[in-house]
């Protein structure tokens, strides 16, 4: 039956890879996924794993629904979702960006325990140091510091020093409504923002996120 082949599971070195058939529609993919998980739920024990989707391109909400199915049927704790679906004729650069963005978008599916919420901005001289992710609702001004082992999300402007993945996790990211830091660090990488660039962008709200690729920190617009 075609239905049974519309989803294939594979154990990758970084967790579970789920390959979606190019020829099946979303409903049959969802059904097939549920069936396969049920029939092999013992295989999925209650481990922590990452999930990578490959093959047919699905919308973001469809991907999230598939994750919902997985969470409903298993005790798996999903630490990370990577979406590598879609056709391969887009330029590599663009695809990396989209993938990184989709990682961010699936944030709500990631464990949030240990994240620190700061309900105002940070002024000069104020600092947050945390062993998980940090979310700040306000500006991080020059002279303020955030050091987080996880990700840093700032609902405002970053003008101060932010260090994400401070324990060496180069998958950590930083996002902000306005990225104007004097210096930005992710894991052991750091980058400077030229004064001219900061001056040029100081009054703009331009949501971006920064991530590590290779040996560099990249900053990409938060648009989709």
């Amino acid at each position: 039956m075609q239905k049974n082949n519309s989803v294939i599971f594979k154990g990758g070195k970084n967790g579970i890879v789920i390959i979606l058939s190019e020829y099946a529609d979303y409903d049959s993919i969802a059904e097939s996924l549920r069936e396969k998980i049920r029939s092999s739920s013992r295989f999925f024990a209650d481990a922590t794993t990452t999930i990578t989707f490959k093959g047919k391109q699905l919308s973001e909400s469809e991907i999230l629904s598939l994750i919902d199915i997985i969470s409903a049927e298993t005790n798996l704790s999903i630490s990370f979702v990577e979406d590598l679906t879609g056709t391969f004729d887009i330029a590599q650069e663009k695809r990396d960006e989209v993938a990184a963005l989709k990682k961010l978008k699936s944030l709500e599916k990631m464990p949030t325990d240990g994240a620190y919420f700061h309900k105002s901005g940070l002024r000069s001289g104020q600092a947050i140091s945390h062993s998980g992710s940090v979310v700040v609702l306000g500006d991080v001004n020059a002279g303020a510091e955030i050091v987080a082992a996880g990700n840093v999300v700032v609902f405002g402007a970053i003008r101060g020093l932010v260090h994400a993945g401070a324990d060496g996790d180069d998958k950590a990211f930083v996002c902000a409504l306005s990225m104007l830091p004097i210096q930005l660090r992710i894991a052991d990488k750091k980058t400077y923002f030229p004064a001219e660039l900061i001056k040029e962008n100081k009054n703009k709200i331009d949501p971006v996120y920064a991530y590590v690729k290779g040996e560099e920190i990249y900053v990409a617009p938060f648009t989709n």
Partner: protein
Amino acid sequence: MGEVIVITSGKGGVGKTTTSANLGCGLAIAGKSVVLIDADIGLRNLDVVMGLENRIVYDLVDVVEGKCRLKQALIKDKRYPSLFLLAAAQTKDKTAVSPEQMAKLCETLRQEHDYIIIDCPAGIEQGFKNAIAGADKAIVVATPEVSSVRDADRIVGLLEAAEIKNIRLILNRLRPDMIKRGEMMTIDDVVDILAIEVLGLVPDDESIVTATNRGEPAVADNNSRAGQAFRNITQRIMGNDVPFMDLEEAGGLMTWLKKVFRIGS
């Protein structure tokens, strides 16, 4: 019950003492009973700016040490009968007073006066902690320079941590010509960073220097543009809504010509 307002900035030399003197005089001119406290123990100069240096007998440290009664240490201003100065001690240092003593002093003074204005020393150490201890409102003075704004931001953070909720900004020494040329931070730049209410904008004005040296605060000088700015701020402190003055106006012949011919507008 009077209001206790601390005038602070973090950075030195941005105009805290000048602002304190002008607001004290401005409020007194408006008929309010005002006490100015110089909290800069060891580096006092509010008395000099006020032209009252020669009348000091007892100071702040004498009061908290019980060497005199509070009333004896309050120096009555020579121009405005409802204005008093409590001078700092020059031969002691900041540790001569504790925050608790300052809070108690402010509490006593506010029973009999409308406004207690505290001139805070620069820095964030003991002197700062003393100065804000009894305050329920704060005015942060900053000039449109990166270093001043950075320090002001630090101060606002400390004031918030000390649970002083009413924090307003006076932006001092503005140069409209430099702002226009993009050589000075704009008002918006500063407000974007500090995110506090603007209480007043004071243009850079040479008459402040001469007024300070004479011990005659500019607020009483009707020809001074900075004086006008301080008069407006005085009104706002008293709760009156006054529009911000046009910093461009009365520039000189060129400004007048530009106005007539509408050049560059």
